[in-house]
Amino acid sequence: MNALVVLLTLPLGGALAAVAFPAGVARGAALAAAAGTVAAALAVASEVAAGAPPRIALGGWPPPLGIALAADGLSAALLVTTAAVMAAVLLAARHTMAAGLAGPRIAFGFWPLALMLWAALNAVFVSRDLFNLYVGIELLSLAAVGLVAIGGKPEALAAAMRYMLFALAGSLLYLAGVALIYAAHGALDIDLLASRRPSGTDALALALMTAGLTAKTALFPFHVWLPPAHAGAPAPASAMLSALVPKASFVILLRLWTEALPDEASPAALTLIGALGVAAVVWGSLGALAQSRVKLIVAYSTVAQIGYLFAVFPLLPLAQAAWSGVIFLALSHALAKAAMFLAVGQWMAAAGGDRLEELRGLAQAMPMSAFAFALAAVTLAGLPPSGGFLGKYMVMTAAFTAGQWVWALPMALGGLLAAAYLYRPLAALFAREGASVAAPSRARQAVPLALAGGGIALGLASAEPLALLANGQPPIQAVVR
């Protein structure tokens, strides 16, 4: 069977099994499905790397009638990163999301939701059809909202509801754009659209889809739902929500602006998106500086890091390095942010809360997860030799070669701001007075450490991921208007 199909069906099947079977069997089935999905992601990536990117037309119907699934370098990189994050999250959850610790509701709901989320992510990464992408992010939103609400506390439910409203409004805006595109071209396949004859409604359609997707990605000023939602969920859920979920809508945006409709990417529109990104960097960082709870700091940092991704948009049509750079930023953020939330989860379980003063001196009892947090902070602040640094470096180089050094500023300043807001939790962790707490085993602390190490390794061994990304990289098309 084609690995692409496995990527979609296996996690969904696992989710179903986790609902249907009794608790003990359910978890085993979920973990088995997860292992299979990791293998499928690796298989797809190796096919792409070997120069034979897999592609199938569902049901044997080619576009425009049918739907194509295909993997390119971008898909492969995201699939593998997602697989790494999900594997770590599920490993961590095996212990913390057990009924004895987290209560029966979470123990029951977590596994199917997590696997459904994974299936939706994979679907978004490999779909080549705008409507299929809609279904993918809708499924993703539903699973994500479920994960936010899973704790069942009033604040969590309110956060989930707020998230839901933003997500629904975003989906409808996106859907309106899709309708316009179909009305104009009779096709929704990305490759077909790339070779379409431009129509007058395309700009409006792109604007609507972009507005909808940025609301789902939580780009400033649509970010208000994100911090309470990500901070309110249990830690493994937050890890998925913060590290992976925004990447899905971001990838769709990236594909729309560089693959499907690059000719509509006017400098003014790109500048607006870039400006919103810069605003998000500043706003998210200031928000993170003002928080006194680690989970909120990390959640606000996601707002800022999402801003980075959009601040690169004005450079996309101008310099080749911007595209790989922004993907490196996205990948390393995924690894680092998941590591942070998993580490925070361990500290909360040990210290009973996530206020900064409650974490003082925890590094003594949990050196490995504290070190993981520090490594992840290095990645987020874009310091060498992490993948975050490499992405930042590529984007800055792109900005200068394109003669638009203004867009290098948010990269430089954002790194400083990140260092500033991540310093406080680090200083608290490494304070001398150590509370005696029951620390999790070394094997469990190693999970976030492995993820954070992945963020560093992305910078150290950047040749392979870059070569992978080069498969199917869209050519730059400077628009002269």
Partner: protein, 487 residues
């Protein structure tokens, strides 16, 4: 498969770092063996290479992870000058640190970062391109912070915070300059002259200023020096590392690379960049000395003295003349040896006699003769008394000033020498001529602390007295200057 020499040199401290992190606190023997073994191996490798490089050989190892990115390690004569300093002083500091810490807590963390710090310094020394240099420069920042904050008490944490507060913006400036420069010139390789192509002269000046900000923070050039005196809260071996082996030296070395290899002497004079840098260095020399006068804590006085002394190197390199450059390069080594001696002594006074402030030094000379003799040698060297190392540096710097048509340098040197004497001589007076306070006890029953100190002091004496020998730092600096000026 053979590992290229530069990589091997890096591995001698990277491998101990990686292993040490995972050792339990109790594994003292294994940890010490790792640190010492790595340090010894590195010194041996360097000695083996010295002769080859003197004969004109150079070693290279490179890798290109992405188009336009080039990681390049290269051993040339300048690299070897710095790496031999850091390797030898690292060996001494390791011996000293093992004795200093004994069985105190959190040693695996300390020695892990300690080795990482030296690995970063080695990387800085061996970097063959600006990008590579930046990577190791940042790695140095990151691995130094846990060392500065090692004691984890309020002053240490404040010092660590201050360090990052200075380091982060300055490294952003450095990155900005590198990206700006390389987007116009392509990767900047130290061995080949940089082609500035289309960059306007003012853009070149701006890039130079940003590069100097980035390097100057580590070199503690005024006004970016504030972190260094604060960092004296760290344990004595860390101070030695900061002031002599790694951090400050890395900054000064960076300035040398920027002036010498990125811009080149011709372009420096063409753009008129030498004089402003020399002026900045002179201000730093005087300001550091003036501030040192007012300090009552030994380590703080020494720290301000470093601020002043390191800018001798910058001054020498910025005067753009053979003699001045020789003086600056030789001072890179001389200052390292003298300052590490002084900080080792300060650590011993603190550990063995509980003396932190200069009042406590009264009459300690006869009680702690070895330490106090070393301290006196270091201090006299700093003042520039012949035949100590500092004298050689100052002579060459003064000659260089005359040669480059900047006689005012002599005034700066004279003023600085007077100030040096003013803040060091009272300490010597207290050590040897004051009556000891009855409550102060002191002994030297710590051979592993005293031995490296004596070796460092002898080194500082030796490089001055034997400056004319064919293998002295001065000879090496002369070799470098000859290669730069003689076709």
């Amino acid at each position: 498969m053979t590992v290229p020499l530069p990589v091997l040199l890096l591995l001698t401290s990277l491998v101990p770092a990686a292993v040490t992190f995972f050792l339990p606190q109790e594994a003292h023997r294994l940890r010490n063996a790792l640190s010492l073994g790595g340090a010894l191996l590195k010194v041996a490798l360097i000695v083996a290479m010295l002769f080859a490089v003197a004969g004109g050989a150079s070693y290279e190892a490179g890798l290109t992870p992405a188009p336009g990115l080039m990681l390049l390690l290269r051993i040339d004569a300048l690299a070897l000058l710095f790496v031999s300093l850091s390797a030898i002083l690292w060996l001494l500091t390791t011996i000293y640190a093992i004795a200093y810490f004994g069985t105190k807590p959190q040693l695996s963390r300390f020695f892990g970062f300690f080795s990482l710090c030296v690995a970063a310094t080695t990387g800085i020394a061996l970097s063959g391109s600006l990008f590579t240099f930046f990577i190791f420069f940042e790695l140095l920042t990151l691995s130094t912070w846990p060392l500065v904050a090692h004691k984890q008490d309020a002053p240490s944490l404040a010092a660590g915070r201050r360090y990052l507060l200075y380091a982060m913006p300055c490294s952003a400036a450095l990155l900005w300059a590198i990206v700006w420069l390389e987007s116009a010139t392509g990767p900047v390789i130290f061995a080949a002259p940089t082609d500035f192509g289309t960059l306007a002269p003012n853009a070149q000046r701006a890039i130079f200023a940003l590069l100097i900000v980035g390097m100057g923070m580590k070199a503690a050039i005024v006004p970016l020096h504030g972190w260094l005196p604060a960092a004296m809260a760290a344990p004595a071996p860390v101070s030695a590392l900061l002031h002599a082996v790694a951090v400050v030296k890395a900054g000064a070395f960076g300035v040398i690379r920027v002036v010498h290899d990125v811009f080149g002497m011709d372009r420096m004079s063409e753009l008129g960049l030498g004089l402003p840098l020399a002026a900045l260095a002179s201000v730093t020399i005087l300001w550091g000395s003036v501030r040192a006068l007012g300090q009552r804590e030994i380590k703080k006085r020494l720290a301000y003295s470093t601020v002043s002394q390191v800018s001798y190197i910058v001054l020498g390199i910025s005067l753009i003349g053979p003699f001045a450059v020789i003086g600056g390069l030789a001072h890179l080594i001389h200052q390292g040896l003298m300052k590490i001696t002084l900080f080792f002594c300060a650590g011993i006074y603190d550990e063995r006699a509980g003396v932190k402030r200069i009042e406590g030094l009264d009459g300690l000379g006869p009680r702690m003769p070895w330490t106090s003799t070393c301290f006196s040698l270091g201090a006299l060297g700093m003042i520039g008394l012949p035949p100590m190392a500092g004298f050689v540096s100052k002579i060459y710097l003064g000659l260089g000033g005359l040669q480059s048509g900047a006689p005012w340098v002599l005034a700066v040197l004279a003023a600085s020498t007077l100030l040096n004497a003013a803040y060091f001589l009272p300490l010597l007076y207290r050590l040897w001529f004051r009556e000891p306070a009855p409550e102060v006890q002191g002994d030297e029953r710590a051979p592993a602390l005293v031995a490296p100190t004596v070796v460092a002091a002898l080194g500082a004496l030796g490089v001055g007295a034997l400056a004319a020998a064919p293998v002295s730092p001065l000879a090496w600096a002369t070799l470098l200057a000859e290669r730069a000026w003689l076709p």
